[in-house]
């Protein structure tokens, strides 16, 4: 589904760029004489439509926050789907805003909105990446140890001793972004030490059955994930705060921009 949504955003961007290709490439003065000037300018029928749809998508995008407030309810769909929609509406809105502005940022409000939107999109994408890196839960390591014990009886004890000797760094839940970032080398180092220590215990490749090799491979991954779990969770949390701040800034700027436009009668089809 993320790919489908991404494809939709891409298609929309290509369609809008194709529609105004001859227009967007002109200077401001030359655009006035373009036949589609009255349609594609920000206050034009199409240009303003982009803006209104973008504003609607931004409002839809915020529904993700509501979904997060009631995270326990499964009847509203999984958080992953909601996050995908959140990313899709955000990217689509950003794309529409780019074409609504006709690739021109002429007012401080527009610049602020655009900059905020860019930061929001950027931080969103990074956040999405961090989200992907964050282990879903702590049971993975336990399951990996159980699988190893099944494939190579006795190995679990040795592995547990190594993992206990190299504990994962812990960060408090309210750790700042900077602190979270600072802690990244530490948990990377722990992960690396864990990996090298476990590799000592691992039987030679020629002697191990495929099942044993797979069990060891899964233990490597699970131990690495467990080593970074705390720091990654703190980093994701801090990053989300940054994302929200710029989102709030963007919302204020968009609100001012839309309010002024609405006040002076630029109301598209409404």
């Amino acid at each position: 589904m993320p790919y489908i949504l991404g494809l939709l955003v891409l298609l929309a961007a290509v369609a809008m760029a194709r529609r105004g290709w001859s227009f967007y490439g002109l200077s401001l003065e030359d655009r006035v004489e373009h036949p589609d000037f009255r349609k594609l300018r920000p206050s034009g029928s199409i240009g303003m439509g982009y803006g209104f749809v973008a504003a609607g998508l931004v409002i839809l995008n915020l529904s993700y926050l509501v979904r997060r407030l009631i995270a326990g309810s499964n009847r509203l769909g999984s958080m992953r789907v909601w996050l995908d929609l959140h990313v899709f509406t955000g990217l689509m809105a950003a794309t529409l805003v780019v074409f609504h502005s006709a690739l021109q940022l002429r007012t401080p409000i527009a610049k602020t909105s655009a900059a905020s939107l860019a930061v929001v999109v950027l931080t969103g994408l990074i956040g999405r990446f961090l989200y992907a890196l964050t282990p879903p839960d702590a049971s993975r390591l336990r399951l990996a140890l159980d699988r190893l014990e099944g494939a190579a009886p006795g190995a679990r004890l040795q592995a547990t001793a190594i993992l206990d000797g190299l504990p994962a760094p812990r960060l408090p839940a309210n750790a700042s972004l900077v602190r979270s970032l600072i802690s990244v080398p530490r948990w990377r180092k722990v992960a690396a030490l864990r990996a090298s220590a476990l590799r000592v215990l691992e039987p030679p490749r020629a002697e191990a059955t495929p099942e044993v090799r797979a069990a060891w491979r899964e233990l490597h991954k699970a131990s690495t994930a467990e080593a970074r779990a705390s720091g990654m969770a703190a980093l994701l949390r801090s990053w989300r705060g940054l994302h929200r701040f710029f989102a709030l800034l963007m919302l204020i700027a968009v609100g001012v921009h839309a309010g002024i436009a609405w006040h002076y009668g630029y109301r598209w089809i409404f």
Binding site: L28, E29, R31, V32, E33, F37, R38, P42, S43, R106, T107, P108, I109, A110, K111, T112, A115, S176, L177, V178, L242, F245, F246, L249, I260, H263, Y264, G265, Y266
Partner: protein
């Protein structure tokens, strides 16, 4: 951390807007140079209106000249863009140096001028824009709006506005010289074409090639030859002829006929009836009226009939002519007769033969009715002139001298009494018979029956004359009026007649105290020796300049006493009867009664 983030963001925003000197937050971009004065967030409402985007009325609030053009539906805007939003063409907020005007066609000289409602045709077609659009905007740019469409706004009027401002009446835009001669209204020129001149071809007067200025037209012979060979010079042709044709001059010539009018009676006379030797020669019979007409007047009015009959009318002349001539008749008009309309005496009802010469005028009654109905038929043979003149019936000449011929002579005050004072009959007061003769028939008796005997004997005239009621002939010998009494008004003793109470002429007191008060408080009246007023006083005056103190009193004034003023001894005091008066009866005899003793022991 959040503080650091906010600070960074604010700094970023400031950096983004730093390139904008005006630090505009809301404006989507700088306005063009023409609108630079209203650039900025404080001026949004100069063009924008809440809920209505950019409204034309706000643009036109400044562009008043354009508003007038739009309202009139004139010019490029009025004809092509009326009702459209200004910003459709004049796009703003795209930079200070951006073009605000985008000409249809790309440039002013490529504009299809038909769109303005003023197509460029003929000679106008190749003319550059700047030749006509000479006004400049405050920014020094050519201003196209408001260029006047009249010819005179660009072209100088060589006719000095003689033919008005609508050049198109004669000219079109192909060439000035090739104007529409058939449309030219010659009436507006200094020489209107009338009569036979109207159909004459232009070339006949203006020549070939045509010469439109400097053409002489002051005199007829500037164009026409004189067939009279100068016989009537220096008289102008127009004195006899008019432009309706040489032959149609008779009416004009009648009006212009020298020394004699050809109107009225002469209008029926043919030219040849008088001009037996040709129209340009005087009649062989002569010029005087009597050379043709027989004099009919018996009065000596002379032979110049036109003195009165200038308009060649025997009858029906203006009244003033008749009035001016009337002194020459047997009845000169004088007084009120000069104001009378002719028809009053010469009524049209009478035949002309009897209207003037057969009138009788020896008696007033020939024209005037007798308002007195024959009352005075026996006086002066009934002729009005005994009492009236032609100056008017009123006032009459019948005055007191004439009244003396009646039974009642007007003398004294009667002579000055208005007629209506006695002849009080209601209108018409022309009944002059007045039977009253006695005084009492007109005058009231103010004396009651005090003078019944005198009235019975001789009436009022016993005492009064007509000269003055107040100067009666009274014999006051029974009580002679001497001294101050002679000049005292009668009423001081007799009183005045007031209404029904008549002045008293009988029983008036004869003694002094009948009229005068006793100012001495009874000193000489109530105590002996009694003195009467006349013992000391005379009617000449009350003061006593020659009072003989020795004879009249028992105290002789001697020595220094003779020169002492009376008032030194006779002082005002209260008498025994309580009356305040100058005390004359003093009763002093001894010196000490008046003088203090300077030799008294206690006086040293």
């Amino acid at each position: 951390m959040p503080r650091l983030l906010v600070t960074l963001v604010v700094c970023a925003l400031v950096a983004m807007t730093a390139d904008r000197a005006e630090a505009q937050l809301l404006s989507p971009g700088p306005l063009s140079t023409a609108h630079a004065s209203i650039d900025g967030d404080d001026h949004c409402d100069e063009c924008h209106q809440s809920g209505k985007q950019v409204v034309a009325s706000r643009c036109l609030a400044c562009h008043q000249d354009l508003r007038a053009r739009l309202d009139a539906g004139a010019g490029l805007h009025g004809k092509q863009y009326k009702g459209q939003a200004c910003e459709n063409c004049h796009v703003e907020h795209i930079g200070r140096k951006a073009k605000l005007v985008r000409w249809p066609g790309g440039a002013p000289d490529k504009l299809d001028h038909d769109l303005t409602g003023w197509p460029l045709t003929g000679k106008h077609e190749p003319v550059g824009c700047a030749k006509c659009h000479t006004k400049q905007s405050p920014l020094g740019k050519t201003q196209y709006v408001g260029t006047k469409a009249t010819c005179a706004s660009c072209h100088k009027d060589p006719h000095a506005n003689r033919f008005g401002s609508d050049c198109k009446k004669c000219h079109d835009d192909r060439a000035w010289g090739d104007f529409a001669k058939d449309k030219f209204d010659h009436a507006q020129a200094r020489y209107p074409l009338t009569g036979k001149h109207a159909p004459v071809a232009c070339e006949k007067c203006h020549g070939t090639p045509a010469k439109w200025t400097g053409v002489a037209f002051g005199a007829c012979d500037d164009c026409h030859d004189d067939p009279h060979a100068g016989e009537f010079k220096p008289k102008a042709c127009a004195a006899c002829h008019q432009t309706s044709g040489w032959e149609s001059a008779s009416d004009l010539m009648r009006d212009q006929h020298p020394w004699l009018s050809l109107r009225n009676g002469h209008a029926r006379v043919g030219c040849k009836q008088c001009h037996d030797r040709g129209n340009d020669k005087p009649p062989s019979k002569g010029k005087a009226c009597v050379d043709c007409h027989k004099a009919v007047h018996e009065a000596p009015f002379g032979n110049r009939c036109d003195g009165c009959h200038k308009a060649i009318k025997w009858l029906g002349l203006p009244e003033q002519i008749g009035k001016d001539a009337h002194p020459k008749t047997a009845y000169p008009l004088e007084g009120k007769h000069q104001q009378v309309r002719c028809a009053s005496c010469h009524p049209k009802a009478k035949p002309a033969s009897a209207r003037y010469r057969q009138l009788t005028f020896d008696r007033c009654a020939a024209c005037h009715a007798d308002r007195h109905a024959g009352e005075f038929a026996t006086r002066a043979a009934g002729e009005c002139a005994a009492c009236h003149t032609v100056g008017g019936f009123a006032p009459t000449t019948f005055g007191p001298p004439q009244h003396a011929t009646t039974a009642f002579v007007l003398d004294g005050r009667h002579a000055a009494t208005p007629c209506a004072g006695c002849h009080t009959a209601a209108r018409p007061r022309l009944d002059w018979r007045q039977p009253k003769r006695a005084c009492a028939e007109c005058h009231a008796n103010p004396h009651g029956d005090q003078f019944a005997k005198e009235l019975a004997a001789g009436g009022c005239a016993s005492c009064h004359a007509t000269d003055d009621w107040h100067q009666p002939r009274i014999d006051h010998a029974t009580w002679p009026l001497t001294g101050k009494h002679a000049t005292t008004a009668c009423a001081r003793c007799h009183g005045e007649t007031k209404g029904a109470e008549a002045a008293a002429f009988r029983g008036v007191p004869r003694t002094c105290d009948g009229c005068h008060d006793d100012v001495h408080g009874g000193q000489f009246r109530l105590s002996p020796p009694v003195r009467l007023c006349e013992d000391c006083h005379t009617t000449a005056r009350f003061t006593l300049p020659g009072f003989d103190h020795a004879a009249m009193t028992t105290y002789r004034l001697e020595g220094k006493h003779a020169a002492v003023a009376c008032a030194r001894c006779h002082l005002p005091s209260e008498l025994r009867n309580g009356v305040a008066a100058t005390r004359y009866r003093l009763g002093y005899r001894a010196c000490k009664d008046c003088h203090a003793n300077p030799h008294r022991e206690d006086a040293r």
